[in-house]
């Protein structure tokens, strides 16, 4: 039997391992935690955003200034949440700091100027700003460091600026003062050079060579000015614009040499002006001045001048060496310009004086009854601003007015025996000017000027006007002196239209307008008897028919038949007719003022012969049509037609004397009116005082 191997069986019971417990419950719980955490975070974020808004809103609404408008720190209220506080804090700090900074800048600017408007000095500014810093720090202790930090550089910057500007201002002032002093000194030197005092010799001691030196006043002054200019340029050279230094030095040269040239020119004026003849074309002063100009241009031309001219210039100090002075080179051109301007001015003065002198002679001659040539008359008128007929038209009715008390030179010339100056003739002969006068509504004034020109002592003289002009003006005069049924200017326009037609056209149109009537039909309406009357109406009727039509012409003629040629007891008639008819009948023309006229005539006659009166029938009147038909002038004649003389001149009555009487009557009426007003005012005041009323402020003329 074999020995068995020792065998051991594996036990039946052995470890079977551990089952890992489930962690799902833990994970679910963790998830729940996460959810809760997220929910809380979300709520917190919302709450933070809300509180931040609260903080921002607080900062926005915050007033950084107190009631006095000064920045004053107010702490953030504790009642706010920490988040709101934190949010507000940075904004509030920024706001306060900005306000403080603005205040600082504003205060700094303000402190630069004192209450009286003057700029503050550095010390004043410093004190002012220190006060501000102290006060602001007290009110805003939280920002003490900030205030000190920002104020220091700002104040320093301003202080530097003040000091720089103060220095700059001082320098500018010095610059201005010195520049003004130099200008004054240069002007003084110019005046000195222009006077004889400048060339006076003086002795100055201690020259470099040794011993006293002889020089002139002018050179001494120039030396001092040039030394001052050097100092000025050293100190203020940077303030002078480019080229100003040279300009300044040249100004000295110009004043120096220009003054000397002026001195010479004034000697010429003093020596030669008095001998100038206003009727001579040669002007010695101009000759010498122009010669100086030529020599200044080229000094060597001195030798080419006429001997007497050269001699005269040398006598007064203008030599070739003077003109060739090299010191003059820089200002030679300006010197010439100044001298040329001076020469031109002198020439104008000479010519003006010459004209005025000549005009004075002309006027004197004319006033003494002399006759002036056309050229002299025109020169005289030119002096009064009348160069053409248009000038006369412009002045007609205003300055040139025959109805006022003033007699202008033009009126005198118009009424004199001298030939008419061209402007006066043009007014009538130039159709354009005539039309301009009519269009301007001054036909009456034009007619008055014509009448005064052409009637000399009651006799018509053409004064050199051409026939066509005379016809044109006579038609206007006739209409004006008779039945004026429409405005004179309208008539003149219509008449011009009529006159532009040919005679056949006129006949045709008038015949057509008359219809079955003839000229005689119209003449019958006038009651004209004498040849003058018939001729007057015969010329006028066609024009009246054209301008007014036949029916109205008849009415006009009928109404005016006894008005145009009115009867008068005093008008002279060669036939001895006691009741002669005339367009100038004083009874008809003066109307209500006829008694005044009669008194005036009687007063004039009384000075000659107390027994003479108008009513006596021993004197008669011859009308002078110059005064027009409104208030005619009359020559007083004896019954045989010979004039009654006063002071060797024919006695003239009417017009002005009656105007004067009218004016006196007006003044009397005005004075009476004023007296009445004063009396009424006195009575009113008395009545007010009596009743205890207040005295009114009555305007008493």
């Amino acid at each position: 039997m074999a020995i068995k191997k020792f065998q051991v069986q594996t036990p039946l019971v052995s470890p079977i391992g551990i089952v890992q417990p489930s962690m799902a419950g833990a994970r679910a719980a963790q998830s729940l935690q996460q959810t809760g955490y997220s929910l809380a975070e979300q709520g917190y974020k919302l709450a933070v955003a809300e509180q931040q808004e609260v903080g921002r809103e607080y900062a926005v609404q915050l007033q950084t200034r107190n009631e006095d408008g000064i920045v004053e720190y107010k702490p953030i209220p504790d009642a706010m949440s920490p988040v709101a506080k934190r949010t507000a804090k940075s904004l509030v700090d920024s706001k306060y700091q900005t306000a403080i900074k603005l205040d600082l800048l504003s205060k700094a600017k303000q402190a630069r100027v004192r209450d009286d408007g003057s700029p503050a000095t550095a010390d004043q500014f410093d004190v002012d700003m220190d006060g501000w810093v102290k006060k602001t720090t007290e009110l805003n202790p939280r920002y003490k460091a900030y205030i000190e930090e920002i104020s220091a550089p700002t104040i320093a910057e301003h202080l530097t600026d003040i000091r720089v500007k103060a220095y700059d201002t001082a320098m500018k002032k010095d610059f201005k003062n010195k520049a003004a002093e130099l200008d004054e000194a240069i002007a003084y030197m110019s005046a000195l050079a222009a006077s004889d005092a400048g060339s006076q010799e003086v002795v100055v001691g201690g020259s470099e060579i040794g011993g006293p030196a002889t020089t002139t006043n002018l050179d001494v002054v120039r030396g001092r000015i040039e030394a001052s200019i050097n100092e000025f340029i050293d100190l203020h050279g940077n303030r002078l614009e480019l080229g100003k230094q040279t300009e300044l030095r040249n100004a000295v040269k110009l004043a120096y040499h220009g003054g000397r040239v002026k001195n010479i020119a004034s000697k010429i004026a003093a020596d030669y002006m008095i001998s100038l003849n206003p009727y001579s074309d040669y002007n010695q002063e101009q000759d010498l001045l122009r010669s100086m100009l030529s020599v200044l241009e080229s000094p060597e031309t001195m030798q080419d001048l006429p001997a007497d001219t050269r001699q005269k210039l040398e006598q007064i100090g203008f030599t070739q060496s003077f003109a060739a002075n090299p010191d003059m080179a820089a200002v030679r051109s300006k010197l010439k310009t100044e001298l040329r301007t001076y020469a031109n001015d002198r020439e104008k003065i000479f010519n003006t004086n010459k004209t005025r002198f000549q005009n004075a002679v002309s006027l004197n001659h004319f006033q003494e009854g002399g006759v002036l040539s056309t050229a002299r008359s025109e020169q005289l008128l030119q002096e009064q601003g009348i160069r053409s007929g248009a000038d006369i038209i412009n002045k007609l009715g205003t300055e040139i007015n025959f109805f006022d008390n003033k007699t202008t030179l033009l009126e005198q010339l118009a009424m004199s025996n001298s030939p008419l100056p061209k402007p006066l003739r043009d007014v009538f002969e130039d159709d354009a000017l005539y039309d301009m006068a009519i269009a301007s509504g001054i036909a009456g004034q034009l007619l008055s000027l014509y009448e005064n020109m052409t009637f000399q002592n009651g006799v018509f003289t053409s004064r050199g006007l051409d026939d066509q002009t005379i016809v044109k003006m006579e038609a206007l005069r006739t209409y004006s002196g008779s039945l004026q049924s429409m405005d004179l200017n309208t008539f003149a326009t219509k008449r011009a239209e009529f006159m532009r037609m040919s005679s056949s056209e006129r006949d045709d149109i008038v015949t057509r307008m008359m219809g079955s009537d003839t000229i005689d039909t119209f003449l019958d309406k006038t009651g004209a008897k004498s040849g003058d009357e018939l001729k007057f109406f015969n010329d006028l009727i066609p024009l009246l028919i054209y301008t007014h039509g036949p029916s109205k012409t008849k009415d006009i003629l009928n109404q005016s038949k006894n008005k145009i040629f009115a009867k008068s007891k005093h008008i002279y008639s060669p036939t001895g007719d006691a009741d002669a008819t005339s367009r100038y009948s004083p009874e008809a023309r003066y109307g209500a003022y006829y008694p005044t006229f009669e008194l005036h005539v009687d007063a004039a006659l009384n000075a000659i012969d107390p027994s003479l009166t108008l009513k006596s029938g021993r004197v008669k009147l011859i009308p002078d049509p110059r005064g027009g038909t409104q208030m005619p002038y009359y020559y007083v004649v004896k019954t045989d037609g010979s004039p009654i003389m006063r002071n060797n001149r024919p006695l003239v009555v009417g017009g002005m004397a009656v105007s004067r009487a009218m004016e006196l009557a007006y003044q009397k009426s005005q004075n009476d009116h004023i007296t009445d007003l004063r009396a009424a005012a006195d009575r009113y005041q008395q009545s007010q005082q009596g009743t205890g009323g207040v005295t009114p402020n009555v305007m008493v003329p």
Binding site: M1, A2, I3, K4, F6, Q7, V8, Q9, T10, P11, L12, V13, S14, P15, I16, G17, I18, V19, Q20, P21, S22, M23, A24, G25, A26, A28, A29, Q30, S31, L32, Q33, Q34, T35, G36, Y37, S38, L39, A40, E41, Q42, G43, Y44, L46, A47, V48, E50, Q51, P77, D78, A79, M80, S81, P82, V83, A84
Partner: protein
Amino acid sequence: MALDIALIGAGFLLTQRGIQDEKAALVGAANSRERQNYEEMKRSQLGALQDHNARVSAFNEYEQSLILTTARQDRSIKAIRKSAEDKARMGMDASRIRSLGQQARFAMAADQARMDRDAARRAARNKTMQNFLNAGTKMYQITPTGTID
């Protein structure tokens, strides 16, 4: 504002609930592992005893068979018996050692499960504390401490 605070409050409560649930789950898991380990320890002990008995029984059977088979009392039989005894003793020693190792391992795993349970409880306490602090801080940050003047 009220909504924000309500959200934070609800979040706090939910978190708190989650912490408690987590603690319960982790404690339960630790308990389970502890129990299983103790069971395994018992089973291992039982297995080791059976193994010992089987070895002793097998050796006795082997010894009897050896005596019966040879009926000799010579040196060679003694040597064979001695060798079998040594082998049986070494086998039992090794089995005992293995059994002890298994016991130690399960005991340690059970200890760890207990530690996990304690740790889960402490963690829950900490988390609860943290949850309270978190909610308190948040509320402090966003709520006014008084009235604005």
